[in-house]
């Protein structure tokens, strides 16, 4: 095997550059404080709380253009702070700047004491409470829902069960057909779908019985498995590459902060998530029940905007797009964004496309008098 010999001058130059980069990076890291990498900083007020669930109302950043308020609903895997990661990469700020009245629900940090909470509790209990509070505060009969990932499933189910209380439904990177990962069958895509089908329902039950909840750390390990070699490079070469660039380093650290914030998923709710949906695919089959009520997607008659990421390896596009033929709405629109699961929120191109598309959709269907 031939070897590439670098010249002595070139080697010295490269070594000097590397040394400077490391030195600068070291100084930057030393000077940084936790406050420098704060995320989700857009001003908001706590307006409602029940158990560990908090509802926040964002302070306006522009004149209100759309009267019906919007509730952002993230899931129990990860946290909503992804929607407001930093000032120049924030769906929240972008929506506020477009005159939207915005709320977000935070599910808190479930502990072992919350292991018996079900998805019924989250959807028909807490989410119901949030919707009622927002409607009451705004003086409207119906609110707009914006669901993200698992939170998109929450809002979809709620819209199907309580259609009279929902004005529009916007979904983002939301799985509907949990077996549609096989449509494209791209390597590295849909691993969670494959993994959950490789274990039995009894495995899920025993795992939750043993651990109480679905540990956030465990889900983090599953996510890391989806890009195994990238994870190896992350804290050496990737970090070194950006070490002397303060802006990029701060962005990287903010993302790390979000990734590290992995709440545990309440056990009974996790059983439903993994067995009813990932394994048995009940949602798209209209077989899912909450509090004994059937979630019939045909009941979703309000306008729907379904946003998905073309290269989403966690929620493959086909799993989201399966909603189209199932809803009863005459106005169903899809928006395909470039990039992956998280890129929808933090990607440069998404900043100019995502929020304006949502605002335009909401404006078309705004009926502030309810």
């Amino acid at each position: 095997m031939a070897k590439v010999q670098t010249s002595a001058a070139n080697a010295v130059s490269e070594a000097a550059k590397l040394g400077t980069k490391m030195l600068t990076g070291g100084r930057l890291l030393q000077a940084m404080r936790d406050v420098d990498v704060e995320i989700a900083t857009t001003p908001k007020d706590l307006v409602w709380r029940q158990d560990k669930v908090s509802l926040f109302h964002y302070r306006p950043l522009a004149e209100k253009r759309i009267g019906v308020p919007v509730l952002i609903c993230y899931g129990l895997v990860g946290r909503w702070t992804m929607t407001d990661l930093q000032e120049d990469r924030s769906l929240v700020r972008n929506l506020l700047n477009l005159g939207i009245d915005l709320y977000v629900v935070d599910w808190g940090n479930p502990s072992r004491a919350d292991r018996y909470l079900t998805l019924d509790d989250y959807i028909l209990g807490y989410l119901d409470g949030c919707v009622a509070e927002i409607a009451n505060r705004a003086g409207v009969k119906r609110v707009n829902l914006l669901g993200v990932c698992e939170g998109g499933v929450f809002t979809t189910a709620f819209a199907a069960l309580e259609p009279a209380r929902i004005n529009t439904l916007t979904l983002t990177i939301t799985p509907i057909d949990f077996h549609a990962d096989t449509v494209e069958d791209r390597p590295g895509h849909g691993f969670i779908n494959i993994w959950t089908r490789s274990i039995s329902a009894e495995d899920v039950d025993r795992f939750i019985d043993a651990n109480g909840n679905l540990p956030g750390e465990f889900m983090g390990a599953i996510f890391n498995q989806m890009s195994p070699i990238r994870s190896l490079l992350k804290y050496n070469l990737d970090l070194l590459e950006i070490a002397d660039d303060e802006t990029r380093l701060l962005n990287w650290l903010r993302m790390e902060k979000w990734i590290a914030d992995r709440p545990d998923h309440p056990g009974e709710a996790a059983k439903q998530w993994l067995k009813d949906l990932y394994q048995q695919n009940k949602l798209v089959r209209n077989e899912w029940e909450l509090e004994g009520r059937l979630v019939d997607l045909g009941n979703i008659r309000m306008p729907v905007l379904n946003v998905y990421a073309k290269d989403d390896h966690i929620i493959p596009p086909a799993t989201s797009r399966a909603l189209g033929p199932k809803v009863g709405s005459s106005e169903y629109t899809e928006l395909a964004l470039a990039g992956g699961h998280i890129g929808v929120f933090v990607g440069g191109r998404s900043q100019a496309l995502f929020a304006p598309a949502v605002a335009s959709f909401l404006e078309r269907h705004d009926n502030s008098r309810g």
């Binding site: 031939a2 070897k3 590439v4 706590l46 072992r112 691993f191 490789s198 043993a210 750390e217 465990f218």
Partner: protein, 301 residues
Amino acid sequence: MTPSDYAKAVAGFWTAQGQAFLKAQRQLGKALAEGATAMASGTLPSMPEMPTDLSASVADLATAGQSVMEMWSAATAMCGKLATTFPTADGGDATVEATFRKMIDPRSWMASTGEIDEVLGRMADAPRFADLWEVERRYARVVQAWMNVRRRGLEHSVVVLEAWLQAGRRFAEDMAGRAGADAPDAKATLALWTETANRQLLETQRSEPFLATQAAMIRASTELRLAQQELVEHFGRQYGFPTRTELDDVHRTVTELRREIRAMRRAQQLPPSATPPAASTGQPPATQSVRRQKTKRKGTR
């Protein structure tokens, strides 16, 4: 350190670690099997419902360990071969070179793919118990479950190491095709290995053997944790400490009570179509709503 020295060091480390591990497994298994036999024959205090198949578990564990050793030997040879493919640099790309050497080391590979195993291991291995004779039956179940976790872990490691070998072969073939003037520089070599290894591992992760051995590993670690909890609950009952089961009962009750309160509150509210517009009180909305919520909570106590 030259590539050759590096490969030798890695090989030496693996061989020593592997042999030490296997020896320790055999000694542990032998001791457990002898103990079980002695107890069954009445030499030591009897153990009701004592698992009788510890010897079988030991044999399975040894077999799994042997498979890993064989794969390690093959991986050692491959690592040495891969190390010689890296372009010699005179200092400028030391970080890239170090990263490359780390990444072609199967220990790194195993570390990345074994993350779930580590997480499960931490969850399962937390309590440690030293005295076999106090709580024989439960402790023996823990040991049996622990041996099963190790065995399943080793079986999964074989699948991962096979993937590593396959990635190494692909990489070596690719590099051989780029010899001479087309030889990539250090960064390109690292990028090629990253791409090759990632592709191979993603393929492997979707394979039946990988998924089956990983599921077996999760199942085994779950059973270990449950066996440990059973043992701890036994202690708890003996000494009057609250147990996990009792706490779970309390948590279940609290959750059900909260659920009932929510349902009652919902039933008391007007139907959505009759929801009145928000009254203007002149107070900041946020303060008003939070105050209202606090008042409600007081009322429920």
